[in-house]
């Protein structure tokens, strides 16, 4: 039995926006085993990035606030850590790859300096040694070490993303959070970056939390999948569970929205409507409004989280043995 490297229990995050409260994350439970890769899939505003930032304790406060729950990293609650302790964990134990490589890098510093910065923060090492390590790290991600003195604008998008990956991996973190690492990239470059992440994962046995909206990328990289909607996990299971037996109506809708390369459909079957306003989440199931199978019972209370086969969880009343 492998150990859980990360456990999120009943996480609630809210942002205040004037008089309103944005309920971004509403009771998320997730576990990630050592060396495993979990895909967190959802649309814009579903709470994916907020979840990631909560793990790093980087929710901007104010306006954001973690209002409940625990995040256990190797059994220790990150919520109780001091800021100084967190700073030691970030980049060293848990690292994050940010979505947009164009804005994640500092345009005024050479890329070598930016990689060396994180190394010098976490290791007692001379400036010259840190720079040498930074160059070696660049080689690992497939960029000539000799280019360490160049600035971000001198690199292409794919290369910038590799620099961001080099920064994230410079101190061999045990847990890597990748927030849409390939969304800004072209497909041939995306394939290279995914290959790189997988190689490094194998080499360093890093656990991976991959945040994306692309079900194709998840199928290539992850072994477990969690589908997130309006701040809740609506379905969770292994790759096989989700791709061969999608059960939550939202998951089914997501698959129906993607044009398939191997089959020809004349019309797509999109999910009608939009995600509910997170300041006014409805009582009952958040997906009810857009769901074709909704019934009266969906409109009130908390939806049950049902295990429909071992390890395959679905948050839908349909599976709780109630008649609709």
């Amino acid at each position: 039995m492998s150990q859980n490297i990360l456990e999120i229990k009943d996480l609630f995050v809210q942002y205040s926006a004037g008089k309103d409260t944005v309920r971004a994350v509403n009771g998320i439970n997730l576990t990630l085993e050592e060396g495993e890769s979990l895909g967190l899939v959802g649309e814009t505003g579903a709470g994916k990035t907020t979840t990631a930032l909560s793990i790093m304790r980087l929710i901007p406060n104010p306006p954001g606030k973690i209002t409940g729950g625990e995040i256990l990293y190797r059994g220790e609650n990150l919520m109780e850590k001091s800021e100084a302790e967190m700073r030691k964990i970030r980049g060293h134990e848990i690292s994050m790859i940010f979505q947009d490589p164009m804005t994640a890098l500092n345009p005024m510093l050479s890329v070598g300096d930016q990689i060396a910065e994180v190394i010098r923060l976490h290791e007692k090492i001379s400036r010259a040694d840190a720079m040498r390590k930074a160059c070696a790290m660049m080689e690992v991600v497939g960029i000539e070490g000799g280019r360490a003195g160049e600035y971000p604008h001198q690199f292409s998008g794919g290369m910038k993303q590799r620099i961001v990956i080099a920064i994230a991996l410079a101190c061999n973190p045990s847990l890597l959070i990748a927030d849409e690492p390939t969304t800004a990239l072209d497909v041939t470059i995306q394939a290279q970056v995914l290959e790189l992440i997988e190689q490094l994962k194998r080499k360093f046995n890093t656990s991976l939390l991959l945040i994306t909206h692309d079900l194709g990328v998840v199928a290539e990289v992850c072994s477990k999948v969690a589908i997130i909607y309006a701040g809740e996990i609506v379905e969770y299971g292994t790759l096989k569970h989700i791709y061969e037996n999608p059960s939550h109506p939202y998951t089914i809708g997501l698959f129906g929205s993607i044009p398939n390369l191997n089959e020809t459909v004349h019309r797509l079957s999109p999910i009608p409507g939009l995600m509910p306003d997170p300041t006014k989440l409805p009582d009952g199931c958040a997906f009810e409004e857009r769901c074709s199978q909704a019934c009266e019972a969906c409109g009130k209370g908390v939806m049950p989280y049902v295990e429909i086969e071992p390890g395959h969880m679905v948050r839908c009343i349909k599976f709780a043995g109630k008649e609709c």
């Binding site: 041939t188 199928a219 044009p259 390369l261």
Partner: protein, 320 residues
Amino acid sequence: MSTLVEVKNLKKYFKTPRGLLHAVDDINFKIEKGQTLGVVGESGCGKSTLGRTVIHLHERTSGQILFDGKDVSDLSKHELKEFRSHVQMIFQDPFSSLNPRMSVSQLIAEPLLIYKTSKSSADLGKEVGRLMDTVGLARRFANSYPHELDGGRRQRIGIARALSLNPEFIVCDEPVSALDVSIQAQILNLMQDLQDEFHLTYMFITHNMSVVKHISNNIMIMYLGNMVEFAGAEEIFKNRLHPYTKALLAAVPIPAIIEGRKRQLLTGEITSPIDPKPGCRFAARCPYATDICHAENPQLDEVLEGHFVACHNVKEINQL
């Protein structure tokens, strides 16, 4: 069926401090009325420049553009305005392509006012309302501003603006790339419905393979300013002949479990489009490149019926 848009030897070069950037280099194609041409390629391959040059948002460097049989390469200012009421564009980013200080109804009314198509303000209001219905935008949003709306609704405004002058030809530059998949599917369905209803002709520019296959009749693959492959949508996915097309399609992640999936990776540096040397521009990354590829430009040949490929070694690679 008749040809609506025909482009012959179109070139668009940009002057840069480092030399001439060959953004679009010698492109030929035709689009039949009511059909969709998908233009696919990665960022920087010149697909947006091509779209913009075809509808005169960029001045072409050389070549010919025929619209409905008429040469529209050199138009006077007055003729250009007339031409532009027949061709429209839907832009990629619904967040930056709409003026944040105009309300939805003002945004949709703008092209109508410029072309003075409505006789009275009551007429104009009616027309705006009709357009909002056409694109599925609830009338209660008429006085909202773009920042109050989500990406899908904003893109619907962009589509309503493009439709307002009853164009025949619309260049769609990555119209769904900024949207979530569930919204993306809604917009794609809308665009197909509008095409059927108004008999529109689309040039659909995208980097998303599954979207382009879904919506196009013909597909053209671009690489660094050149057209490398052109064929019917079904055909190109069945029979990928150019090495770049093969690599591109193999790199698309498929949302399904595929046993023993092997990633095919391209290596090598991307050739610079600034003052390129003769030779195939893909040669530096091509696993099949031979000496001739580095020396001579490949010509676009009809390898199979209706299937054009620009590759010196296409016959050997595909055993044709």
